[in-house]
Every structure is written in C-alpha cells, then in structure tokens.
Symmetry: C2
Subunit: 203 residues, 2 copies
C-alpha cells in the first residue's frame, strides 16, 4: 500500500504538473509517458507506479484542475443575480478556463477520446456532474419566468454542454478566440432583452 | 496526366466507398491505407496514386457526401416556411446526416484534426461554406422579425455550428441519440412559441 508521505504527495504533484503542461503545450498526440517524464525531469517509471498508465495520469491531471473549476462555477453562478449578471459571469468563467489551460486540456482529451475507448468512457463519466450542475442552474434560473414550462431542462443542459464543447474545440483548432467574445457579447445583449421577463428579486 | 476513363472513375468511386465505410465503421484511429485497401479489395498503392496520401483520400471521401449534404440543406432550408416548419426540417436533415454516415465521418475527422495539423487546416477550410450558409439562413430568417437588430449573425452562426459539432461528437461518443431527439423536440416547442413574432408570409 502506498504511504501518503509528504514526499509522495510532492512527487505526484510534480507528475501531474508535467502531464498537464505537456497536454496543454504539445497536445495529446505528442503526450507520451516519455515526453511527460522529460518535461518534469523524473523517471517515467514513476508514472506507472503512481497512476497505473498514461491515460490514468492524464485524467488525474485534468481532474485536479477540473474539480477546482467546478467549485468555482458553483461559487460564481450559485449566487443570486439577473440574466445580465449571469451572462457576464459566464464570460468571466470561460476566460478563466482558457487562462488556466483547462479549456485546452479538455479539448485535447475530448477529441482524443473519439479514438480511445478507455479514455472515452472516463470522459463521458466526467460530463455527468457538469450536466447535473447545468440542469440545476437552468431550473433555478427559469423558475418563475415565463420560460419555465417551455424548456426541457435535460435537453437544454445537453445543448449548453454541447455548445461549450463544440465551441471550445473549434477555438482550440483555429485559435480564433473572437468567436467566444462575439458569442458572449450576443449573450449579454440577449440577456438585456429578456431581463424584464424575469423577476427583479434575487434568485 | 491522369485520363478520366470510365475505369479510372469506377476505381476512384470504389476507393472512396472503402475509405468512407472504414472511417464510419472502424474510426479514424483504425483507418490505415492498408485497412481501406483490405476493405475495398484493391492494392493500397492505388490510394497514393489517386489521392496522394491517406488524409487526402479521407477528405475526398467526406467531401463527396458533404457536398451532397450541403446541396440538400440548401434545398430543404432554402424554401419559405415558418419557424415550426424550419425546426422540423432541421430534424429531418440531421436524421439524414446520421443515416448517411456523414455525421459519424465528420465527428471522426473533426476529433482527429485536433492531433493532425494537415487535417486540421483542411477541416477548418471546409467549415467556411457551412458558416456562410448558416449566416445567410439566419439573416433571411430574422429579417422582419423583432430579433433582426438583436442578433449578431456571425456569432449566432458560429454558435449553431459549434452546437452541431459538439452535439454530433457527444452523440458519437456515447451513442445516445435521444439527446438530439430531445433537443429537436425542445426546438419545435420554442419555434411554436416565437411563431407569432414572425410574419405569416412565406420568407
């Protein structure tokens, strides 16, 4: 059994950092155990000792940041606010996803999962909490608005996640971040228009 | 110079069929020149003779169906109609994309393009006509509605394409086509709601 010594934890952090940075800088296709070990300056046997295999390591590297991101999404979108405020918070959160490298790592692993059944299963499992979070958010947001009975929350949450992943991958491929900026601008304009239909009270 | 003999055309059709079917059935990761040649029952040297390299062949195989699909989209969405009719036509077109295998081949090549710069450049170039088609469609559709001045057509077309690609890849990964059905149901309900805001005349 592995002992969670301070040194063991430090080693794992170093391996996770190297894996995350390699995925982010070089892409999945160039992220071999050897490339990760070279970047981090450690023996690649440590990857298999601590994470079983390379896919296990890459998922752990994504998860470490992903969990922080989800808590941050819950914090920022969990408070009361009107549609305009929600639209500008969504813009802020996406900018953080980009700056942290999370959006790049998600795009790389999402795309790679098409050709790797083990990765695919794990990536799909990781979408569930995001889908549930989005469903809860939409339910709370629509409550009391004239849209509540119109919107199928499960379908809408699937569309929101698809839009995020599709846009993220498209921006990852062509490097044109102005796509996201234009979409958030449009979202804020739309939010300002529907604003009067939502109650003025904090939700 | 290649002579466009009847036999040459028949050979190319056979190579394109084998490439399309291999991508659709086995995925990009398993689509080698050898696998395509084996499926089609021809010598793999023919691939390089007719298409230069494997990526060139896979793009040609996607394009052959893709061009038919785009003409079909223009035909079906190009006529007059109200929002409800457009929503049900979009559902029909997506069902055809799935049945023809086009949605699978697009999902495979879109995902694979993340790890292949040559493929990425070609895939991005192929999105341009779809973006322009979507922009024209949105412009025509919004004209005369109260949304015309609200919607940034370029941003909206990017969002529509992102949603299509993200949903297509997600369904490709988890095999859950009910996601699309639920979204089209929701789209038709929404269309019925906004219907009165659009003019009753054919557009």
């Amino acid at each position: 059994m592995l002992k969670a010594t301070a040194q063991g934890i430090a080693t794992r952090e170093r391996i996770l950092d190297a894996a995350f940075d390699t995925l982010r800088q070089d892409g999945f296709a160039n992220t071999s155990a050897r490339a990760v070990a070279r970047r981090g300056g450690f023996n690649q046997a440590l990857i298999f000792y601590h994470y079983g295999n390379l896919i296990g390591l890459l998922l752990a590297a994504m998860d470490r940041v992903g969990e922080q991101r989800r808590l941050r999404y819950e914090e920022v979108l969990g408070g009361p606010g009107n549609p305009i405020e929600f639209a500008s918070r969504a813009r802020l959160l996406y900018a953080e996803d980009v700056d942290s490298g999370h959006s790049t790592v998600v795009a790389e692993l999402f795309a790679a999962s098409s050709g790797n059944p083990e990765l695919r299963e794990q990536m799909l499992a990781r979408m569930k909490p995001w889908l549930e979070f989005t469903e809860r958010l939409l339910e709370r947001f629509l409550a009391g608005s004239p849209f509540a009975s119109l919107v199928d929350v499960r379908a809408a949450a699937g569309a929101v996640l698809s839009l995020y992943l599709g846009m993220d991958l498209l921006i990852h491929l062509d490097g044109d971040r102005s796509r996201a900026t234009a979409m958030f601008d449009a979202g804020e304009r739309l939010a300002a228009t529907v604003e009067p239909l939502f109650g003025g009270d904090p939700r």
